[in-house]
Amino acid sequence: MNAVSTKPAAAPAVVSRPALAALPKPSRIVPVIAQVVPPLIVLALLGLGWEYLASGPNATLPPPSKVWVDAHDLIVDPFFDHGGLDKGLFWHLLASLQRVALGFTLSAVAGVGLGMLIGSSPFFMRGLDPIFQVLRTVPPLAWLPLSLAAFREAQPSAIFVIFITAIWPIIINTAVGVLNVPQDYRNVAAVIRLRGPMFFWKIVLPAAAPYIFTGLKIGIGLSWLAIIAAEMLIGGVGIGFFIWDAWNSSNLSDIIVALVYVGLVGFMLDKVVALAGRIATRGTQAS
């Protein structure tokens, strides 16, 4: 009897093969923990460092403990509304998000349309591309005075600034996407005589979708950057003016809380567009 043999013993052929044992299920919890724990630890360390640095007698910024005490109402209740500008952060963020939603939607529609035009017409490409390349380097806030002069009101001016900030990456990425529609797909469309709007709708748009969503993702990020700055100048309800107002009343703790919210909302906007892109372009990556 050689019990140490590594050769598998001849399978007992008479015994009917047992049902395949179920493979152990991969744990769902472990990867989540691995994702969540490191940022929490780093966050705690950064908080401690900040507390230590900002607790000295010469510190100019409040430590986290002071922020918590000062801005307690703001942190625990984002939904209060005492009329006027004295509202919880939720309302300020909501006002800013509404402006972004409007401006960004307009720039998405116009940007994709213009990008399609440029990408599919050499004439417009040559004519418009140089202009766009110059205009896109103009900083968002530089548009504000002109925009205020044109619209004479804060709300449409802010929306225009978002529109003009977000539109360039959308136009350019869409145009590149259209130019990159593979010849194979164009050939298929030619053989089945798919032309005009149907060709755009059935072939160009889906083929360019990954590029378009890259443009939208950059655009939403820029919109959020622009709105905060624009609101500081135009006033009214909105997270940008909230920060400016807090600065004028030397409320540093409020500013810090607002910054955290601004960051979280910006992160969320990015993820929402990315998710929309993933859903809309599923399967678009050719195998």
Partner: protein, 264 residues
């Protein structure tokens, strides 16, 4: 009498290159014929097929289909592309349906078109995978969807550009049998480009051998005298099969050897 498909004095040059890829190609194809085009890589086989498809313009000469000059692409000349070219955002069903809705909307109502799509998927045995996307199926399955899409357009001529080139030998044999069966059933006229001598002899009525480019042209045309249906196992040792195979190999490897290899 004029042929079904008539290629006359066809020359094709690309802009920027001094010599034409193809020069004075003459070829007449009858209705229902299965013609293979064989030649070394880069000699202009795809270019020839693209001109027949209407995707490329002829530089000189021309192509007549049923007496009418070909001036652009159209569903009467369906192409199965070298790299399948399925639209990755559509399911297999939708890929075929797009072609059917686009080309047969005048002659069929919605329900008939739906049935027709399913019928063509069944023809290539792909009914089970109809709701999958191209990146979820194997290379051979993609090629079968490409064939179903082409057949579903009810083409007068089916153009196959190395349809099985990227497949393993077993899958290839299986698809070859399916294409033979479909050809026998539908009597479609087929032009098939291939690199594979056995494939050319097994499937075709005639084999068109192109010389090396540039200035490639028809070097020789071999008629394959084997009755259908053909069985790959029985044919392997059949004297006529062996003779045809030898003739093509001799053309490709001794009289018109691969220029790339010769230079090396």
């Amino acid at each position: 009498m004029a042929s079904f498909l008539d290629i006359t004095k066809l020359s094709i040059a690309f802009p920027k290159s001094p010599l034409p890829v193809l020069r004075d190609v003459d070829l007449k194809i009858e209705r229902g014929e299965y013609v293979a085009v064989i030649g070394h890589s880069g000699c202009g086989k795809s270019t020839l097929l693209n001109v027949v498809a209407g995707l490329l313009p002829a530089t000189a000469g021309g192509v007549l289909l049923e007496g009418r000059e070909i001036s652009g692409p159209g569903p009467d000349r369906a192409v199965v592309f070298q790299n399948h070219s399925l639209l990755p955002w559509l399911t297999c069903y939708e890929n075929v349906a797009l072609a059917v809705d686009q080309t047969l909307a005048k002659t069929m109502n919605k329900a008939q078109r739906h049935d027709w799509v399913l019928e063509n998927l069944a023809l290539v045995h792909m009914t089970a995978a109809k709701d999958k996307r191209p990146n979820e199926i194997s290379g051979g399955m993609k090629q079968r969807i490409g064939i179903a899409r082409a057949l579903a357009m009810r083409p007068k001529v089916l153009l196959l550009d190395e349809p099985f080139g990227a497949l393993d030998a077993l899958t290839r044999a299986h698809l070859q049998d399916q294409v033979m069966e479909i050809h026998a059933r539908l009597k479609t006229t087929v032009i098939m480009i291939t690199h594979d001598v056995d494939e050319a002899v097994l499937l075709s009525d005639r084999i068109v051998m192109l010389t090396n480019g540039p200035n490639a042209t028809v070097g020789e045309i071999l008629t394959v005298e084997l009755e259908r249906p053909r069985d790959r196992l029985k044919l392997a040792a059949h004297p006529r099969f062996v003779a045809a195979r030898t003739a093509v190999l001799e053309f490709l490897h001794s009289r018109h050897a691969n220029p790339a290899l010769q230079a090396a």
